[in-house]
Subunit: 383 residues, 4 copies
């Protein structure tokens, strides 16, 4: 019998109507190589059943608890190869740990967990059990972000001397001053420490800046000096962060959820001694590259002059926007490729091109350092 070509996966969370669960399912569907066969979509029995029926999950593989699911699936010969965890943030740690301990590969929404200790524990278990563990930091999945990484690695912009990145949104602007009656359930959730941990804005989107910059440049914050703004809420809605990387270079990150007119404004600009690159998430199929003393160049995804990873992860012809879901699919592509190799008996020594549990831990450390600095008069704080 030859190697398997398709994977079986399960989902925890993601009942009908839940946003992020649909993103994960659709991203996996775009890859066309894995089938959803088991789930615990919701702790509410009715919702769980309704969703299971809609997706045609066999009754004996629709579970009322994730513990039960992990146990039963790991016992089956045709059990799931990996689980997608799309539950509320506060539960990621417990759910992920349970599946890892059951010997099942894990893809988990970000943030990985709330404390550095939790993150390092998950990292350790995955390592010991040789399990793949993806944390779905979406934006590194975009083809043009991959191109950016390769251009930097190839020395196209020389030595990096400056980083300027931001992630601006406006969906919590009504929380300014302590919130109001139009507050949505989601915004309540985001700004509740019990559900979001020690940070709202930095934890939700600031960490994407950190991850995307680290992916492109290979540079990690060594220390940060930050000022957070809560505007009367319990958690931060806005943050400005000075960064010093491990190589001594400085940068600045800004993230906010109160900037009117900015919807999902992740913008990453890397400046080097020989040139610069700029990527704007809202127009993700372009990359602006300027070599010192030359005209700006606008690279377009899917064209003949683009090679390497950005070309490999190209799905539709140039000029036809791929959008977020393909970026997500690219992350699953790398993860599922690794899982498939494990399933077929030759687990990779080195992870493929996707964010892993280690990146998740780095994110948690970053959040903690930023919050600590802000509480301590913005002094430089080690990450």
């Amino acid at each position: 019998m030859g190697d398997r070509k398709r994977l079986r996966y399960g989902m925890v969370g993601g009942g009908l109507g839940a946003f992020i669960g649909a993103v994960h399912r659709r991203a996996i569907a775009l890859e066309e190589t894995a089938d959803l066969v088991a789930a615990c979509f919701s702790s509410r029995e009715e919702k769980n059943k309704e969703t299971g029926e809609f997706y045609g999950i066999a009754q004996d593989r629709l579970y009322s608890s994730y513990e039960e699911m992990a146990k039963a699936e790991s016992a089956r010969e045709d059990g799931i190869d990996f689980v997608s965890i799309v539950t509320p943030n506060a539960t990621h740690y417990e759910v992920a740990k349970t599946f890892l301990e059951a010997g099942i590969h894990v893809a988990c929404e970000k943030p990985l967990c709330f404390t550095i200790e939790q993150g390092e524990e998950l990292e350790q278990i995955a390592k010991e059990k040789h399990l793949m563990f993806a944390v779905t930091y979406t934006y590194t999945g975009y083809a043009m972000v991959k191109l950016a990484k390769e251009l930097v690695a190839a020395g196209e912009i020389g030595n990096i001397v400056n980083v300027n990145a931001e992630y601006l949104q406006d969906w919590l602007i009504d929380e300014i001053g302590g919130g109001n009656q139009t507050t949505t359930k989601m915004s309540v959730w985001r700004t509740d420490p019990a559900k979001s941990g020690i940070s709202n804005c930095v934890g939700d989107i600031g960490t994407h800046i950190e991850d995307t910059v680290a992916y492109i440049t290979g540079m990690h914050p060594k220390k940060v000096a930050a000022v957070l703004d809560n505007y009367g809420m319990d958690l931060d809605l806005n943050a400005n962060i000075l960064v010093e990387y491990d190589n001594g270079v400085h940068g600045v990150y800004s993230c906010s959820q109160v900037c009117a007119g900015h919807l999902n404004g992740l913008v990453v600009r890397i400046f080097g001694s020989e040139g610069s690159i700029e990527w704007v998430q809202e127009e993700p199929d372009y990359l602006k590259v300027t070599k010192k003393g030359q005209p700006d160049q606008i690279y377009h995804r899917g064209t003949g002059y683009i090679t390497g990873m950005a070309a490999e992860r190209n799905h539709i012809p140039s000029g036809h926007p791929e959008g977020l879901t393909f970026a997500f699919a690219n992350i699953y592509h790398g993860f599922m490729k690794d899982v498939l190799e494990c399933v077929n008996g030759h687990c990779p020594e080195k992870n493929g091109d996707y964010p892993t549990v280690s990146d998740g831990v780095a994110g948690v450390k970053f959040i903690h350092a930023v919050v600590d600095s802000s509480k301590n008069a913005s002094v430089w704080t080690e990450v």
Copy 2:
């Protein structure tokens, strides 16, 4: 037993590696409401088998010819509800006719067919048999195109007085002067009259302009005055077209496959007595709306101020690009909703929001009028 909630569909064409087949499958997958259960992916047995295995099609529902498939599926109690036709253009007519005659709903890639007679015949059969028939003119599926349509209908820009639309690409630039050794297979195919009919550029992309403008404005070309450029090839690579609509308003369409730097540059601008709208396919989540004497307004998909069809067909939060595949999914959404109603015994009297066989016929008529005008010294030619 209640109404069915999911559909079964089959595919003709779309073997592994074929571009447009994957787009259709992925678009349907994004909708999460239909399952691929039967297919004739390729006339080449090996390719057909390989693709069928990859997608887990049961052996008895993987057919070696579309005629056989139509016959067998229409005979099954659990036969397919609709077929997606993603074969080469020259075969659309025959395949579509076969499935219609077998009583199966049809979704067909554009162009619908080569002659006006063929198109009208298909239209007639579908009508007589009360079958749904979608022609997948992609661009009307975009949320912001739907918003444009609603703004125009609501009189937001007053009476339309001018239309300026273009669709510029550059992928056939090397055909100028008669082609060269780097000519790709696809370009050979596009510029071969046997495979592309009487027109290449107008047939492939000019017709999208016509369809998108008609969708937004409800205005149809009454006559055209056109000049086509072949640059030494058998078929056109470039076209400029003066248009007079049924209401006497004039417009101009330009389409080209030799405009360096333009990848998939469909741009539609509608000018009215009270304002204007502009939509650019390469940045599809925006719509520029200018009311007379006021600042330009940039609408963003997915925001709270967007209502109606554009809000209903919103899939991911504002600021996260949806991309082409969701536009395609939106077309299937409308079509599949109609099909599901038919399946459940209450066929709609009026089609939902997607391009139908009638739009496909309009496209064929437009192509013929444009080609005729160009051959006849650009005189005004009735559509």
Copy 3:
């Protein structure tokens, strides 16, 4: 005594408050090489006197008629070297002819005149008398338009295969349907045949498209097929024009004064076999250049990689917008350089880099052909 370094000039028209007179004066002032010493600013004595005093014109050189001015100035030893004509369009011909016959160099606002015969007569007189004659088609004065011309001439985009240019404005949108009570004096003037000649929109702005494209490409329309829209007014407010150049290449021009949101939207796109260029007047310091199969390039005015005419006519550092007045100044620069050479006794055999009376004549011919074609069912009409 050495050569003169400064010029003396006079102005006809341009009383205080008149827009275009100020543009000419300021453009000349930016050049810092000519002094305004004589004028007939207005036929209204009070206005003439007030303006003369403001600008410190000597009383004996402030004239009540242009005929008197031409006569007196040509008789003085220190008479003006050239005259700037900024009177209403209907008078350009008479005024220009008068000064030419008095042996004075002429810079005249566009359009040069109303009939082809008038234009050719002016051209003939200037030629016979070896007088310089600039027609201030503004847009060829922009540095990046000069760069475009040089890139085309250097073969950077190969052989030109397609031209797509437009000039869209919205300031006459309220004239649709026959005008209304808010009609401004200027719009009344523009749409009155007695004051604007046979065309409003094509004459006012369409002719700029023609001139700018001709400047960049060296290609002149051989014939045109046009449709004009008057929307109930006596003259055109909108035009779409198919063009065939002398080398057989086709293009399309659109001009309009009823396109909401477009203020002064001159956009020129030239497509060649090896690449393309695009220039947008509202952001004039950039030039988009795309070589076939390469990323788009955005050239910025004033940078080190820009050489030739665009570098010579650079006034302020890159990144600091120069604006329209410098474009105008560049036109005067070329003209005044020629005039200064004449004054110093060595008139140039070939005109410098600015639009001359011959370009003015070409513009008048273009307008006539476009209007004729539109009146004659859009048939192709020789220019």
Copy 4:
């Protein structure tokens, strides 16, 4: 005898070929209300003479030293009304002081001077002598910056909650690592503490951010936490600055001269509880305004919906870029209006709309606080 309508001015610095002198002369020329009648263009006799001849300065008013000029002009009945100081930065203080003491109004290039004490002394003298003193912070002269100020003042964006501004250039990128052989004279000058004071980048461009934000918002930095990068040079080439304003709101400023592809990238974004505004210097005729929960709005200079100061300082029709020189002219407009009132005997009690010596002092204080913070481990430092 009535009031005077024109002013007489003198210039110190600005010999032929000097960049900033030409900007000042041209800006004044655009205003058309003042005449250059006296100067000390250069300390080099030949250069001074040549420039004086070119501009037709009377021989007895072309001075070999600014001290002599101040003395002689203040003694003349027809002496200059104001002086424009366009000398190297290190001399501003001495020259300005000399003319103030001679009772002559002053317009001075920024930075005003090097030390806070110098600045406050100049401020004091001007105040005592009732002399007008403009410091030409260019960017507040732009019409759309004036509109921004008025929209903020009118409460259109609610209470300001966040500021994000940057000024990125790339012209000193070759200084990274200590400079190299292609170093230009200007860059040597900029990075020499003797000629530039304690800061290069913050002093040259960071101070423009501070001034422009203060102009728009009325908010002044109370303290700053900054990190400067010298990259091996004596002075800073890059800076990231956390800001706390007097009202407790936070912001972030970034300035750099090593960001490839950024030419003169001043971008100011002000975020309020009800909306936001964004202004980009390289496209200065636009202002992006987003009200909470509404589409973005793009305001265009010169349109009918723009009123107030932005409309008053409009020079050419909408859609025709005005550029930097008009912004500069607007500053001189306000200053010269005040000077003219003084000249006519009714000095204004409150300065008009232009940056004064007080703004110059604020700039010097800002620079000092930023440099101090950076030297002191980025701790928050009072301005």
